[in-house]
Symmetry: C2
Subunit: 337 residues, 2 copies
C-alpha cells in the first residue's frame, strides 16, 4: 500500500454557542499500516448529528466528551482497504464510530458489517443507523403509541423525526409533524405521509395544534425543546407520554430554557422520559430487520441529504443542522464509497 | 333546630400572585334545614392545601376552578347535626369537600364516615386524608422506590413530604429531605426519621446533595418546583423517577419558571411524571388500612399544625403555606369537633 495522507478534524477548543472555525484543527497525518488484529477503513460517508454539539462540551453526559486535540467523534460507513483482523476482509463495508477523518485504523470493536447490495451506504447512517434506531425504540418503547392515538413529532423533516412519524403511521396513529418552512412541511406530508405538518416559522404552534389535534396529544416525540416543547405541553391528552430525544434549539444556548409549562404533566397525569439509543444496542438487529422489511416493501422511506464535500467541508456542513438547512439525514460524503 | 348563621369565605376575585384580602368575600347566610335526602354538617376542621391556589385560577386543570362568588372549596371533617339522609345519622363524623364555611348542607355525595375513636379528627385531613393518600400513591405507584435506593423529598416537613419520607424509610430506602430552616430540618430528621435534611435557606442544595447522596437520586418526590427541582435534576441517578406532585414555589408566580436542567432526564434515562391523587380514589381504603396499621404500630407519625382561629382566620392562615410557616399538615379549627 502506498503512503496515504489522512485528513482529519480535531477538536481545538470547546465552543461557546455555535461551533466556530477556531474550535477546529484541520490536521493531517500519514496513514499507518494495520498491526496484527487491526484493520484500516477508508471512510465513505460520515453521519452529522445534533448530538455532536453535546459531545464537544465538558462534563458528565451519557457519553464521555471529545477531548481537546482528539479527532472529532462521528459515526460513518466505509470500506476495509487493509486488514490483519480475522473478522474483516479487504472489500468489506462497515459502519461504526469512524471519526471525522478519511481513514480509520480500528481494532474492529464497535464495527458492524453492512451490505451495500441491500441498501445504499448512506441508509446505514439513516433509517438503518442511529437515527432509525432512535426513532424506533424512542417511539415504540417510551412513547408506546396505540392505534388511533395522536402522535406529534418535532424536527419532522429530520433524520429521526421523519422515521418516527412513518412508524407511528404504520402503527395506525394520527401523526402531526412540526417543521420549519413550507418546503419541509410539504415533504413531511407528501413524502413521509404524515397527516399534517405545522410550520413553526409561520404558524403559532399552540393554536395550530388546537386545530389539527383537537383531542390533545397522546405522544410527543421531542427533538427540539424550547418554545415548541412548551407549546405542545399546553395540548397534552390525559396520560400523555413525552419522549425527550433531543433539544436542538437549546444545544448552542448559553442559558438553556426549561419548559415553563411542565406542570401540565401533573394536570394531565403525563410523563416526560429521556432516552439514549445506545441503551438498546442489544436490540438493534431486531429493529434493523423490521425496518429493512418496511424499506423493501416501500412502507418506509429513508431520505438522506448528502453533501459531497469531502472531510474538509465538515465544519460548515455541521452548521446546516443548527440552522435547520438539512432535509432528512445529513451525511457528508468523504470518499467514493 | 334554632336558626343558625353560617359564616363563609367566597371567592371575590381571581388573585394575581399571592391571594390578597380583596380576593375574598366574607359572607354570612342563615343555615337551611336539610331537605329529604340531605344532611347538615357542622364543620370541625378545614384542610388548608397548596392546591387551593390553583383552584382559584381560571382555565383547564385537573379540577374545575372555583367560580367567582362561590364558597371556596376546601376539604374538611365535621359532625352531622341534622339528617334526612338514610346513610348518615346525627352524631356521625364525616370527611369530604365541606368548603370554607361553618356549616355544610350536603346530599352525602363524596362524604366518608370517619371514626374519631380510631384517630383524632385532624388526622383524617392528614395521614388518613388527601396528603397521606398523595404521599402513598405518588411514592409507591409513580416513584417505585426499591430498598437501598436514595429517595429525596422536598417540602419534607409538610403534610405530604413528611409522609413520603416515612413510607420510603419503611420500604428500606435512604431518605433525604429538603426543607426551609433549621427547626424544620431538625424535625424531619428527629421526628420523622429521615437520614438527612438539607436546609435550602442556608445551604446550596446541589452541593449538599453531592455530599448526602453521592450515588445520585433514584426517586425525587417534588412538592416545590423552581430552583430546588433544577438542583435535584443535576444529581439524578441512572433511571431516576421524578414524581411531580406540586410546585408551591411557582403557584403565585406570574411568570412560572421551567426546569432548565430537564435534559438531565435524557442523560440519565430518567422520567418526570405528574400525579393527581383523585385518580386513586378507588384504592384509598387500601392505603388507609395500611397507614392506620403503621400509625397504630407507632411506625408512622402524623403531625398537624392546627390553627384555632375559626373560619374568619382562613385568608391569613392560608398564606402560612406560601410563606413556609407551617410544619406538618396545616389545619384550621372551625368548631369543637
Amino acid at each position: 500500500m502506498d503512503s496515504r495522507t489522512n485528513h482529519q478534524y480535531r477538536l481545538a477548543a470547546r465552543p461557546v454557542g455555535l461551533p466556530q472555525p477556531t474550535d477546529w484543527q484541520y490536521a493531517e497525518e500519514t496513514v499507518t499500516e494495520p498491526a496484527d488484529g487491526q484493520l484500516l477503513v477508508e471512510v465513505a460517508y460520515l453521519s452529522l448529528d445534533p448530538a455532536m454539539r453535546g459531545w464537544m462540551n465538558e462534563g458528565k453526559s451519557y457519553i464521555r466528551p471529545v477531548e481537546i486535540g482528539e479527532v472529532m467523534r462521528a459515526g460513518g460507513v466505509g470500506r476495509v482497504i487493509a486488514s490483519r483482523h480475522p473478522g474483516f476482509a479487504v472489500g468489506d463495508h462497515v459502519s461504526g464510530t469512524l471519526g471525522v477523518q478519511e481513514y480509520c485504523l480500528s481494532d474492529g470493536r464497535g464495527l458492524t458489517k453492512v451490505d451495500p447490495a441491500l441498501a445504499p451506504l448512506p441508509v446505514y447512517l439513516s433509517v438503518l443507523g442511529m437515527p432509525g434506531m432512535t426513532a424506533y425504540f424512542g417511539l415504540l418503547d417510551i412513547g408506546r403509541p396505540e392505534a388511533g392515538q395522536t402522535v406529534v413529532v418535532s424536527g419532522a423533516a429530520g433524520a429521526v423525526g421523519s422515521v418516527v412519524g412513518q412508524i407511528a403511521k404504520l402503527k395506525g396513529c394520527r401523526v402531526i409533524g412540526i417543521a420549519g418552512g413550507e418546503a419541509k412541511c410539504r415533504l413531511v406530508v407528501e413524502e413521509f405521509g404524515f397527516d399534517a405538518c405545522i410550520d413553526y416559522k409561520s404558524q403559532d404552534v399552540r393554536k395550530a395544534l388546537r386545530e389539527v389535534a383537537p383531542d390533545g396529544v397522546d405522544v410527543y416525540f421531542d427533538n427540539v425543546g424550547g418554545d415548541i416543547l412548551d407549546a405542545v405541553l399546553t395540548r397534552l391528552a390525559r396520560g400523555a407520554r413525552i419522549v425527550i430525544c433531543g433539544a436542538i434549539s437549546q444545544y448552542n444556548a448559553t442559558e438553556p430554557k426549561g419548559p415553563a409549562n411542565y406542570m401540565s404533566l401533573l394536570v394531565n397525569r403525563a410523563s416526560m422520559t429521556g432516552m439514549v439509543v445506545f441503551d438498546y444496542a442489544d436490540r438493534y438487529a431486531e429493529a434493523a430487520a423490521e425496518m429493512s422489511g418496511w424499506l423493501a416493501a416501500g412502507k418506509l422511506r429513508s431520505l438522506e441529504d448528502v453533501v459531497d464535500g469531502g472531510v474538509e467541508a465538515f465544519p460548515d456542513t455541521l452548521l446546516k443542522l443548527f440552522k435547520g438547512e438539512n432535509t432528512g439525514k445529513l451525511v457528508l460524503k468523504v470518499a467514493g464509497g
